[in-house]
Symmetry: C2
Subunit: 353 residues, 2 copies
DNA sequence: GTGAAAGCGCTAACAA
DNA sequence: TTGTTAGCGCTTTCAC
């Protein structure tokens, strides 16, 4: 149907090999006579020839395509978190001439197929970028390490220092410390935490929060630990927050500050607090996490910790492509800095009494 | 390196053809003796064989991959609009066993390559889903129509009744009418509009707004038409809205209601109005568009028009795969219903005087 | 039921 | 500088 190499060769009265050479050596690398080149190029134009990339991939043994594994369930794409990482990835891939194939971790759920890995080993991609690295179990990690030479991949957002795999992540520990310190300096000593019930990112954040409290010698009371999740939608998040905040603040010794695992949770909490009659930041300070677009839309605009999501995606892609180009197997493991963004949802701790 | 069909064949002492048959006819379609099947399956398991999908694509002439074209610039992925459509697409593709390749409209910007089309004609995908159909010029549309038999694609979000291409879109005209009617019934007669300066979706919405006003016999004053765009980020959006709203409401004859082209613009406007001392919905009612997650986080929660974004993506994917399976070329053009969601940002028009 | 062989469209030695 | 020839790994007639 479509024009093939052979068609062009025939038309230009040369061999397919020559056409192939002309097409590759646009930069004068390969020795081709000017006349032939003209003839071939003319044929290409006339026939509107486009190389079949599938065939090329097979012949070259390189697909020039990168597989990106996102968390189970496509709706997760709606989370700014994933979308922003993906944006970083795709900008780099595009700039370096790679195509992007999207996978979801549930995809390969056949009995014998260990999820992520089978996805990435169907010969359709040269390497993998795993945004959903929290979902990897030990066996899968081991498999990825084993295959690292043949099939490089980079984990995103998940600190895995004990592994030999590439990974890039945000320095969330520093982020949590910055948030807690900020509150501390405003005089807050009783700091509650909204954690993500689902998914390890939330619980890692929780560990970071506890470490940050400990660093300041503050108490981490379990009744100041409140579950929160976005899985059932924003309206549910707000409802739940309203209930939780009501409970927390009728508690005999309520906190004076709240550190949330992400901006949405923080904004929902603020909605909830308002219902309870608590005013932010007069009565309680709230710090979010991520500095999503919505932070600035909050009432009041949200103090939060900006995390390098786009940058994580971009760097991971760079690392992967570099590995692919150089064959270098030295694991690259990078922690990217976070930054505290102070807006209006935090203020001095209310005087006790 | 990796096990190939040949390896399995050798191991099972059969021909590659037989292995191929066993692998395809899992459902007992193809006549294979039970013994052979067992032997082959065992070999597959032992060698941990995974078919090379690139080779399969080449041999079969079908890649089982769909290309999705998103608006130029990967950061657009962060817009819930695009992400939600993409979620709908990928759920369907996944469910039906198709892979997804992501393209951005800027990708193929070589001199001779007409953007969208060349992207989709590199033999790597079986069909195209074009989210960024507004970017298509007439020539590209003509080309897509010409190729429709060989290379089917579906446009998303863009009404194109005069074309023979498949498309699915939201019934935004009805949405605009619903929004305006809602305001009208609350007594509003002076309704301003925040439109998207960039991109045709915004200007289509603007046309819809004007039609909706006309349907009610209301005046569409040009000084009630305010530009707004998200391109430069949320903070800029809010700043700009603050300025614009200030101006609009010191105007000698300010509107009593505002219909925004999307929820973010609406929320930013509410922020701006607050700065100006205007209270929503007491002094002015605001209607957003899309019913994004943030709508419910607004202060007050936003009245808005819910649009079927996920559904558009899902339906477009269904239509495409059906076309691919059936070879049917009847153009499918579907308008999906929108629904008004009344929350707390709208109320009765203030008494004049 | 099963195998031999041609071929999908392109690339890359190796010759010439 | 160019052509010939073998593949890349899988599928699919066509014989047996």
């Amino acid at each position: 149907m479509a024009t093939t190499l052979d068609g062009v060769a025939r038309h230009a009265r040369v061999s397919t090999a020559t056409v192939s050479r002309v097409l590759r050596g646009a930069n004068g690398e390969i020795p081709i006579s000017a006349a032939t080149r003209q003839r071939v190029l003319a044929a290409v134009r006339e026939l509107d020839y486009r190389p079949n990339l599938t065939a090329r991939s097979l012949a070259r043994g390189r697909t020039h395509t990168i597989g990106v594994v996102l968390p189970e369930g496509a709706m997760r794409l709606r989370r700014v978190y994933n979308a922003t990482i993906l944006a970083g990835i795709s900008d780099v891939l595009t700039a370096r001439g790679y195509a992007l194939a999207l996978y979801f971790s549930e995809f390969g759920r056949q009995p014998q197929a260990p999820g992520h890995i089978s996805l990435l080993q169907d010969g359709r991609v040269d390497g993998g970028l795993i945004v959903d690295s929290f979902a990897l179990d030990d066996e899968q990690i081991a498999a990825l390490e084993r295959e690292a030479g043949r099939f490089p991949c980079v984990l995103i957002g998940h600190r895995l220092p004990q592994s030999r795999l590439h990974w890039v992540a945000a320095d969330d520990r520093a982020g949590a410390i910055a948030a807690v310190d900020h509150l501390y300096q405003l005089g807050h000593r009783r700091i509650a935490h909204l954690y993500n019930r689902r998914g390890r990112p939330g619980s890692e954040r929780q560990a970071d929060y506890q470490e940050a409290l400990a660093a300041r010698g503050l108490e981490a009371r379990s009744d100041w630990l409140v579950a929160s999740e976005m899985a059932s939608g924003m309206a549910a998040l707000v409802d739940r927050a309203t209930r939780e905040m009501g409970e927390l603040w009728t508690h005999h010794e309520p906190p004076t500050a709240l550190f949330a695992w992400n901006d949405y949770a923080a904004l929902a909490a603020i909605q909830g607090l308002r219902q309870t009659g608590v005013v932010v930041p007069r009565d309680v300070s709230v710090v979010g996490y991520s500095d999503f677009d919505v932070a600035v839309l909050g009432q009041p605009p949200l103090t939060t910790v900006r995390t390098p999501l786009y940058e994580q995606g971009a760097l991971a892609a760079e690392v992967l492509l570099d590995t692919l180009d150089s064959g270098n197997a030295q694991p690259v493991q990078r922690l990217l800095p976070t930054v505290l963004v102070v807006r209006e949802s935090t203020g001095s701790a209310p005087q006790p009494g």
